[in-house]
């Protein structure tokens, strides 16, 4: 790092940084660019070994998108994803606000142990539990339904959100709550009227992460659901556009693109929250 160096040295070192970052940014963005190009390219051009794969030469076509909307349940998948994400996020964030506040602020026996237990579940990967959970889902009569996902997603959302929100609650000065209690507010009123308004950035962060994690979830959505009309967008696109050995590449890329767009929009709007949540989640973890 050019710290005390001359202006010339600093410019040179920044040029060096850009020169290093450029290939990496190309590496990051190329798959997305290639998705877009492929989704608008005619099959004749896609499957012509002599054509240049990087751009479209023989005209933009929308047939892959048409196939997606007319021949698959794409719209239903998107609706399912949205429904699951909204329900699971709401339930999880409410549970996590209560648990996070309790662990960050209230003194009771076993609080530290509960905190550790929640932290450990945070580290349990879904791939360790999907086999038994697939049986739990059958026993509860929820097999092959999106309700199963609404029930199971909070298992990884609650530990994450609780941990995240504990960090935010700890930054709120305790005196403010004590004043409210002295003035006769109940504990619940103190939480809802005093603490929550001050923890809004943390709650936004928890909501954003939960929604993204739900939308992107693959393991449980793949293992619990087999009927096309009940699939989520991520699973529907990855499974229903591949028939045996036949890959509908144009539509696969179109579907992958469209199903990613809601997340990209939220991401662009709330970039700073993502960065702070990511670092808070890991650093405080």
């Amino acid at each position: 790092m050019a710290l005390a160096g001359s202006r010339g040295a600093r410019v040179r070192s920044n040029v060096f940084a850009y020169a290093n970052l450029a290939p990496y940014i190309f590496f990051v963005l190329f798959p997305f660019y290639f998705m877009v190009v492929t989704s608008f390219k005619s099959n004749a051009e896609l499957y012509n070994l002599k054509s240049i794969p990087f751009w479209i030469q023989s005209g933009v076509v929308t047939e892959h998108y048409a196939l997606l909307f007319q021949k698959t349940d794409f719209v239903t998948w998107m609706k399912n994803s949205l429904l699951v994400a909204v329900v699971a996020t709401t339930v999880s964030v409410v549970i996590s606000i209560l648990a996070g506040y309790s662990l960050a602020r209230l003194r009771f026996r076993g609080a530290a142990t509960f905190g550790t237990a929640i932290f450990i579940t945070y580290l349990v990967p879904p791939t360790l539990l999907f086999l038994p959970l697939s049986q739990v889902v059958v026993w509860l009569g929820l097999s092959d339904s999106i309700s199963a996902l609404m029930l199971i997603y909070p298992t990884f959302l609650v530990p994450f959100c609780t941990w995240l929100l504990m960090g935010y609650f700890r930054t709120i000065p305790r005196e403010i709550e004590e004043c409210a209690l002295v003035d006769g507010a109940t504990r619940m009123q103190t939480l809802s009227k005093i603490v929550l308004p001050m923890a809004v950035p943390g709650i936004i962060c928890a909501v954003l992460f939960s929604f993204t994690l739900c939308w992107n979830e693959f393991t449980y959505a793949l293992t619990f659901i087999s009927q096309s009309a009940h699939k989520t967008a991520v699973v529907g696109v990855t499974s229903d556009l591949i028939r045996g050995d036949i890959y509908f590449w144009g539509s696969l890329m179109a579907g992958a693109l469209l199903a990613s767009i809601p997340i990209v929009i939220i991401y662009v709007l709330f970039l700073d929250y993502y960065v702070s949540g990511l670092t808070a989640g890991a650093v405080k973890g």
Binding site: A4, F34, M35, R107, V158, I263, L271, V283
Partner: protein, 312 residues
């Protein structure tokens, strides 16, 4: 104390008194504290703790989809350890995790150092860097699947045109070593942003004065990094590495979409093999036994994490 209001209610005390006693009870710090945490604990006990117990029970019984079996001891473990596919998977998991993690650590620190500079478009660049981490992994892996296609691979097309390889180039997902390389590439592509952004946050806490003092003393930029920056970001780096170890080792999405464990099981990880044996094959007992091989590493990571958290 906790019985008080209920006893009073049973004794038929008048409503106002009962309500105020109940409220008084609920307003106690420990009662309120337990009350708020009950939903979270109930959820995690029933849907994480209990299923984990079930996984252990499955692995010790001949449990098939639709036909609960009896206790068979360590038969499942014996069977999978004898199994060639499982041995291959065991090896794959360590090769995959070892290489992917090393690449993510080295490139992640390198990337974080670059991002820490005061560049123009800093926000945009950070936004782009984090993108692979935010987009649904299964969907972005589809793009990679297409890029590694056996016939129309854009990677091969480019390499052939640049005369780096001779046509037609490797069949990425059809040859063992190349398939492993492809799976690792996508895992690094997807996981690097997490490393870079968290390490970047760690770098921001390194006091400038330390680096300036080292520079005045004539330390080269490499020595400044090795002796000043690295020791200071070590705690952050440790946490990221521990996290990433678990989630790389337990990866499912990338392998399932890209290779389904093939060719000839050379990219199977515990999770994808457990899925194939347990759900597609219906042998839940063996599937659970396979997926439980993720557990020892998880336990180790939890142990180190907790020790680290206590030190803080």
């Amino acid at each position: 104390m906790a019985v008080g209001p209920r006893v009073l209610a049973a004794a038929g005390f008048p409503a106002p008194g009962r309500r105020s006693r109940l409220r008084e009870w609920w307003e106690q710090e420990h009662v309120f504290g337990y009350g708020l945490i009950v939903p979270a604990i109930a959820l995690l006990v029933t849907l994480v703790g209990f299923p984990f117990g079930m996984a252990i029970w499955f692995s010790l019984s001949d449990y098939w989809v639709g036909s609960p079996g009896g206790f068979t001891g360590l038969t499942n473990y014996g069977a999978i350890i004898e199994n060639e596919t499982f041995r291959q998977t065991f090896k794959n998991s360590f090769v995959f995790t070892g290489i992917a993690l090393t690449l993510k650590i080295v490139l992640g620190v390198w990337l974080a150092m670059l991002l820490a500079r005061n560049l123009s478009f800093k926000r945009v660049i950070r936004g782009i860097v984090l993108l692979p981490f935010v987009i649904p992994t299964a969907l972005s892996t589809l793009a990679w699947l297409w890029m590694f296609d056996s016939l129309y691979s854009v990677v091969n097309w480019t390499a052939v045109r640049l005369h780096l390889i001779s046509a037609p180039g490797p069949n990425w997902l059809g040859q063992s070593a190349y398939a492993m390389a492809a799976v690792i590439t996508v895992n690094v592509w997807r996981g690097l942003p997490f490393f870079a952004i968290v390490v970047l946050a760690g770098l921001m806490t390194v006091p400038r004065e330390y680096l300036e003092a080292a520079e005045v003393d004539g330390a080269s930029s490499w020595r400044r990094f090795w002796h000043v920056t690295l020791p200071l970001i070590r705690p952050v780096l440790a946490v990221v590495i521990l996290f990433s170890t678990v989630f790389t080792f337990a990866d499912f999405n990338i392998v399932e979409v890209l290779t389904r464990g093939g060719p000839i099981n050379t990219t199977h990880l515990f999770a994808t093999l457990a899925y194939q044996v347990g759900l597609q094959g219906g042998n839940l007992g063996q599937g659970a036994a396979i997926s439980l091989f993720i557990f020892p590493l998880l336990a180790l990571v939890v142990f180190f994490q907790l020790r680290y958290v206590r030190q803080e």
